[in-house]
């Protein structure tokens, strides 16, 4: 695969980790209109998930303290990564 156009690492800090609601927020962001053409992969250790798939993101079952690596490809990649990092940093508003 081609190297990502943008990448960022962020630590998960909300209490319950990446359960259904935070996963849904990630997918919602990745699927939102401005990022339609961007493909975003979420990497946790050796595992990865397509950020447009709620099942894949949920199945990462990441607890609090996990290091999340977002890698985006396509036009708007940098903005997508930025939006996702902000979301995680804000603890998903929880």
């Amino acid at each position: 695969m081609t190297p990502p156009d943008a990448t960022a690492t962020v630590v998960l800090k909300n209490e319950q980790g990446l359960h259904a609601r935070p996963s849904a927020l990630i997918v919602k962001t990745a699927n939102s209109e401005p990022f339609k053409a961007v493909s975003v992969t979420l990497r946790v250790g050796t595992r990865e998930a397509d950020c447009k798939s709620i099942m894949e993101v949920m199945m990462l079952a990441s607890p609090r303290g996990t290091e999340l690596v977002f890698e985006a490809r396509g036009s708007g990649a940098a903005l997508a990564v930025q939006a996702l990092v902000q979301l995680v940093d804000a603890g998903f508003g929880e």
């Binding site: 259904a20 849904a24 397509d50 894949e56």
Partner: protein, 578 residues
């Protein structure tokens, strides 16, 4: 002519024609298709996904309006599953194109795998399994075309509804003027069908099973609630006979029952169970002591909105005023298990009878609960209101319910709204545990009501709507009687009024047993009052007590049943249902 046996949830007789709603009984598919059929199956699958998404969006809008944004966001997660190309949609299309699975079979296979994976993950992820199950069910239903026929269209006169079970929406949109009876393959005694039937005072049978699938639309049928059966294609004399019985029943129901007393003059108190305020006027002429149980689920079920405080206050006020000064026991919402409102409780549980139901559900949806409690308190100034909490397990849970009531009262006081400060609050005994720890609970509650249907279900671990075990649902089981006796004794010691308000209370067969156990306050459907009064007049106090004692000591249900039959035969009267 054919008879199909079922379970009566609302008695009476109806003579009419069959109207089939939806399909009856179906299996989860395991089908494969020819290669040529694959594109068609994929097309069907994509269409089903779009339609289910549209249904869920509609549900979201309704939920938002009644429960606020939070519940709406849960449903957004739901929609995301339906948009998940990578893990859900694409793999299912692959199962169709490469595995040659028929669309519904492919859905079931993929969801089975996903649920298996979720099950292995740490909490709270496995708690999403019911969501997936629900989506799978919706997709399969769409693909199998199991969308029930519309009931809003024109129904024939005197129609008997035949269905798997009715959904809340169907019960709501039904043309009530034309329906005279129900017969369903499934459903519980507290299902929408049952509640609606009792509310309308028309007969209903449930648990008729797959035999119902053979009934053709338009066939003449008789719903015979007294013999717990549906007669398909009855002969002319049978129809004539049924119509004559129907007339006699109507004449009898209108007369005053007179005083409720046993042969030796012991008086006892009869109350009625009601679901709505429609029939309240005719009750006053019945000579009853009050309303022993007003179920409030009907206020919520099958409505296009959750009733607000004003609407509920007006409803309770009407009933309280009509019955005043007689007491009216109003039970707070009792949802979950087989009774659910999609706006309040949309997720299916793997084991709903042991799940988030009844008072537990009210605690989980505090806002809706508070609205009801406020309305009940506001209405309390118009009559003799009693508030009853359903399925209370122990004194601590009761204290929590009381605290909710106190909080609602504090709110009203702060707003300067008038309400009665001393509204009695009671607990419903429906679980064996409640009888076991009755001492502290009865001391805290102002009154106790026994819900015998659930008490029997939970004591004997029997779902009476499950045909395979329904014959094990035995109200006269010595174990059930022991719990009733225990509750009656505790209530007597603590001088707390205790009322039986399950179906057992309205069955003449059990009247002498209940009186003998010391349960002298009975609440039943209005149609049962006369039977119970007649039965009690045959009894005397001492005989009832001896009967109860003998049944309590019986080694099992067969023996206690024999004792009960012998008692009734001694009056030269055949035992009969209720």
């Amino acid at each position: 002519m054919e008879h199909i046996g079922g379970i009566t949830v609302s008695d009476g007789i109806a003579v009419g024609v069959a109207v089939i709603v939806g399909s009856v009984e179906r299996d989860t598919p395991e089908l494969q298709v020819a290669r040529a059929r694959v594109p068609k199956e994929i097309e069907r699958f994509d269409l089903a996904v779009r339609e289910v998404a549209a249904d869920i969006e509609e549900l979201r809008e309704r939920t938002k309006a009644t429960l606020g944004g939070d519940a709406g966001s849960i449903i957004n997660t739901y929609l995301m599953f339906l948009q998940d190309e990578v893990s859900i949609l694409r793999p299912i299309r692959t199962l169709i194109s490469e595995g040659r699975w028929e669309a519904a079979s492919a859905v079931v296979r993929r969801f089975r795998d996903l649920m298996e994976e979720l099950r292995g993950l740490p909490e709270p992820l496995p708690s999403r399994i019911p969501d997936l199950l629900d989506i799978q069910r919706r997709l399969v239903d769409k693909l199998q075309g199991v969308e029930a026929a519309s009931l809003t269209g024109k129904l024939p006169k005197n129609c008997v509804i035949i269905a798997d079970d009715l959904t809340p929406t169907q019960t709501a949109t039904l043309d009530r003027q034309r329906v005279i009876g129900f017969a369903t393959a499934h459903g519980g005694p507290a299902s929408h069908t049952a509640i609606l039937a009792r509310h309308l005072g028309i007969p209903a049978l449930i648990g008729l099973g797959s035999g119902l699938g053979r009934v053709a639309a338009g066939t003449p049928v008789i719903v015979d609630g007294f013999h717990q059966r549906l007669v398909v294609g009855p002969t002319t004399p049978m129809v004539r006979n049924a119509k004559a019985r129907l007339r006699r029943l109507k004449d009898r129901a209108l007369r005053d029952v007179g005083a409720a007393r046993t042969r030796d003059g012991t008086t006892f108190e009869l109350f009625v169970n009601i679901d709505s305020d429609e029939s309240i006027k005719s009750l006053n002429s019945l000579g009853i002591a009050g309303v022993g149980l007003h179920r409030t689920e009907y206020l919520y079920l099958g409505r296009d909105h959750t009733p607000g405080e004003e609407e509920q206050t007006a409803h309770y006020t009407r009933i309280l005023k009509a019955m005043s000064p007689k007491p009216v026991v109003i039970r707070t919402m009792d949802f979950g298990s087989d009774k659910w409102d999609p706006r309040i409780h949309s997720l299916r549980e793997p084991n709903p009878a042991l799940g988030l139901r009844s008072l537990r559900l009210s605690f989980a949806y505090g806002e809706i609960f508070t609205t009801q409690l406020r309305a009940l308190l506001r209405a309390s100034v118009h009559g003799n209101a009693h508030i009853l909490f359903p399925m209370v397990s122990d004194a601590e849970e009761f204290a929590r319910a009381r605290a909710c009531l106190a909080e609602a009262a504090t709110g009203l006081r702060a707003e300067g709204v008038k309400f009665r400060e001393d509204v009695p609050a009671g607990a419903m005994l429906e679980l064996p545990v409640t009888a076991l720890v009755g001492e502290s609970l009865f001391a805290a509650a102002d009154f106790i009501s026994i819900g015998s249907n659930d008490l029997i279900q939970y004591t004997l671990a029997v779902d009476r709507t499950n045909r395979d075990v329904a014959d094990l649902f035995i109200p006269h089981h010595p174990g059930v009687l022991k719990l009733l006796h225990m509750a009656a004794e505790t209530a007597r010691r603590l001088s707390k009024p205790i009322t039986v308000c399950g179906e057992m209370a309205g069955m003449g067969l059990y009247t002498p047993v209940l009186l003998g156990l010391g349960l002298t306050r009975l609440s039943m459907a209005p149609s049962r009052v006369r039977d119970v009064v007649d039965e009690a007049r045959r009894c005397d106090d001492a005989t009832c007590r001896v009967l109860a004692r003998a049944m309590l000591e019986a080694p099992g249900p067969e023996a206690s049943g024999r004792i009960l039959r012998a008692h009734h035969e001694s009056f030269r009267r055949p035992t009969r249902r209720g």
